[in-house]
């Protein structure tokens, strides 16, 4: 089956100021239903790229296509109905004064009728497990709960692409786990949904379909996780670590114990060894 391109980035160049470019000629494709992680050290331009993909920023040169449609001033409304971003800071993206108001914000912007809106808000609050908290104010919620509300607000818009820009980096370990599970559930429920996750979490990247590494304003790697993290030395050079499971696998491989590629968790490795 031929995979359908949903995002196409072509020779993208961008700088906040004229004389300094942060993204130097970036090109990649993302396919429908893929779960791609985007990694790279702080300041490598990941958030900038996310903003370019939803046309919050305008490229200096180069093009971005979403479902074949070029991003520009005219297509902005269409784009916003296809792509959404969950940001890093749970507080600064909580717009409504209560959970339900916040989930409704995007729907209000689309001028959706009130009775439809009520149903939609409840439906998606349920999906992220926040239906018991509809009247709660942000101050009464944990970071993970606020992020779940943000995700509900975006899911409610029925988008095709969701970008998570370090959505778990300000959460406690439980919050991280909550959101990770939620993303996986989301993908399971709607395989058509394309997810781009910007993250520092190498373990998460290892579980995704594909990893894109940004380094020095360029796409440094763009491949399946096994290939990307193959060379530990190379990763070290750009200040990145490799997944813990992979380290164990490498150590085992050095002792002539080869673990199959499909096994991606510590438990899996342990079970395999016990067989």
């Amino acid at each position: 089956m031929e995979k359908e391109k949903i995002i196409e980035v072509k020779d993208l160049i961008f700088g906040y100021e004229k004389d300094s470019t942060i993204l130097k000629c970036i090109s990649f494709d993302i396919f429908k239903g893929e779960y791609v992680t985007l990694i790279g050290h702080n300041g490598s331009g990941k958030s900038t790229l996310a903003k370019l993909l939803s046309y919050i920023l305008e490229p200096t040169s180069g093009k971005v296509y979403i479902e074949g449609q070029e991003l520009n001033e005219k297509s902005i409304k269409d784009i916003r109905s296809k792509i959404g971003i969950v940001f890093q800071n749970p507080d600064n993206q909580f717009i409504g004064s209560t959970v339900e108001d916040d989930i409704a914000f995007g729907l209000e912007n689309r001028n959706i009728k009130q009775d439809v809106m009520k149903k939609t808000v409840l439906e998606f609050a349920k999906k992220v497990g926040m239906d018991k908290f509809l009247n709660k104010e942000p101050e009464e919620l944990s970071g993970g709960q606020k992020q779940r509300v943000a995700i509900a607000g975006i899911l409610a818009l029925n988008l095709k692409i969701i970008i998570f820009d370090e959505a778990t980096s300000m959460l406690d370990p439980e919050g991280v786990e909550e959101i990770r599970k939620l993303i996986l559930n989301m993908k399971e429920e709607n395989p058509e949904l394309t997810v781009i996750s910007i993250t520092h979490d190498i373990e998460e990247a290892y579980l995704s379909d594909r990893v894109i590494i940004l380094n020095d304003g360029k796409v440094y790697k763009n491949d399946i996780p096994e290939n990307v993290f193959k060379d530990e030395e190379e990763m070290r050079k750009i200040d990145l670590d490799i997944p813990f499971v992979l380290k164990i696998k490498n150590e085992l491989a050095a002792r002539n114990i080869i673990i199959p590629r499909e096994i991606k968790t510590i438990e899996g490795v342990a079970n395999y060894l016990c067989q």
Binding site: N92, I95, D101, G106, N109, N111, M117, E139
Partner: protein
């Protein structure tokens, strides 16, 4: 720092909670005005204020307003009350009932004390009214009410939705920023800044260590907020639908009639007392009309 200085919404389901915020907003303004009307002599004033206090007190009980947070709000005003009490010694008055004659040039009259008491009661009533509104009405609903009152301005292309959204965002971020201020203060304290000691210059210096980081974070927050809003399709020039709508029911109508009745009586009394005189005279006047 506390975030409930002027009342925080308490999620009960009392009749006061369920009333239309537009009505509550109107009643608040009306009652505030009434409290400040002139009523002639002190007997008149205290009788009217007494009745109003009773009504407001009953509303507070019905609306399950926390008296604890009410008194806490008052406690932030005690300095002002003390100031007023001291001030009273310096207001020259010619009263009828002296408390104490210091010398032949200076006598303290009961009138001074009554005047200060009068001011204090009115302030307390105003605070009580504000707390009733804020603790029984969600900030968002207050904004909706405000938005409704601004609607006529749409005719002159005044961006009412933008204004009400801005206000609701400001209200939404007050607790967040107070938390942040607390965090910054703790961080600075651990670096040796003392917010409690020192006089004017030292105080200002220590406050700067709070204000500057707070401002910086405020700007970066508003920047991120604007981006988040844009990403979710916000456009200030487009019509947006509303998730919540306000309903004016017969209960609101009854409450409105009641408030207007009270206000009407008080206003009439105020006019009568300014043209006729003391409470006794007003009563006699009304009695006189009846017997005629």
């Amino acid at each position: 720092m506390r975030s409930d200085i002027l009342g925080k919404y308490t999620p009960y389901n009392s009749i006061v909670h369920r009333l239309d915020p537009r009505f509550k907003f109107f009643a608040l303004i009306l009652l505030m005005v009434i409290v400040f009307l002139p009523f002639g002599n002190y007997t008149n004033r205290f009788i009217v204020l007494g009745i109003l206090s009773l009504i407001i007190g009953i509303i507070m009980i019905v609306g399950k307003v926390s008296f604890k947070s009410f008194f806490r709000s008052l406690s932030s005003l005690w300095l002002m009350f003390i100031f007023l009490l001291i001030f009273m010694f310096f207001i020259p008055t010619k009263g009828e009932y002296p408390i104490y004659s210091f010398n032949e040039n200076y006598t303290l009259y009961w009138d001074n004390l009554l005047q200060v008491l009068h001011i204090i009661i009115r302030l307390v009533l105003m605070i009580a009214l504000t707390i009733i509104l804020t603790s029984t009405t969600l900030p968002m609903d207050i904004t909706y009410a405000l938005d409704w009152y601004l609607t006529p301005l749409k005719v002159v292309k005044f961006p009412t939705q933008v204004v009400s959204l801005t206000i609701s965002l400001a209200l939404r971020f007050i607790p967040t920023l107070l938390n942040e201020a607390n965090r910054i203060m703790n961080a600075q304290k651990s670096r040796g800044v003392d917010y409690n000691r020192g006089f004017f210059v030292a105080k200002i210096k220590s406050i700067t260590t709070l204000i500057i980081p707070l401002l910086v974070s405020c700007f970066s927050r508003s920047d991120e907020l604007a981006i988040a809003m844009e990403a979710r399709g916000y456009d200030p020039y487009k019509t947006r639908s509303r998730y919540k709508s306000l309903h004016f029911t017969y209960k609101d109508l009854l409450a409105l009639l009641f408030i207007i009745l009270v206000a009407g009586l008080v206003i009439t009394f105020s006019i009568l007392s300014s043209t006729i005189g003391g409470f006794d005279d007003v009563i006699n006047f009304i009695w006189g009309i009846k017997t005629i």
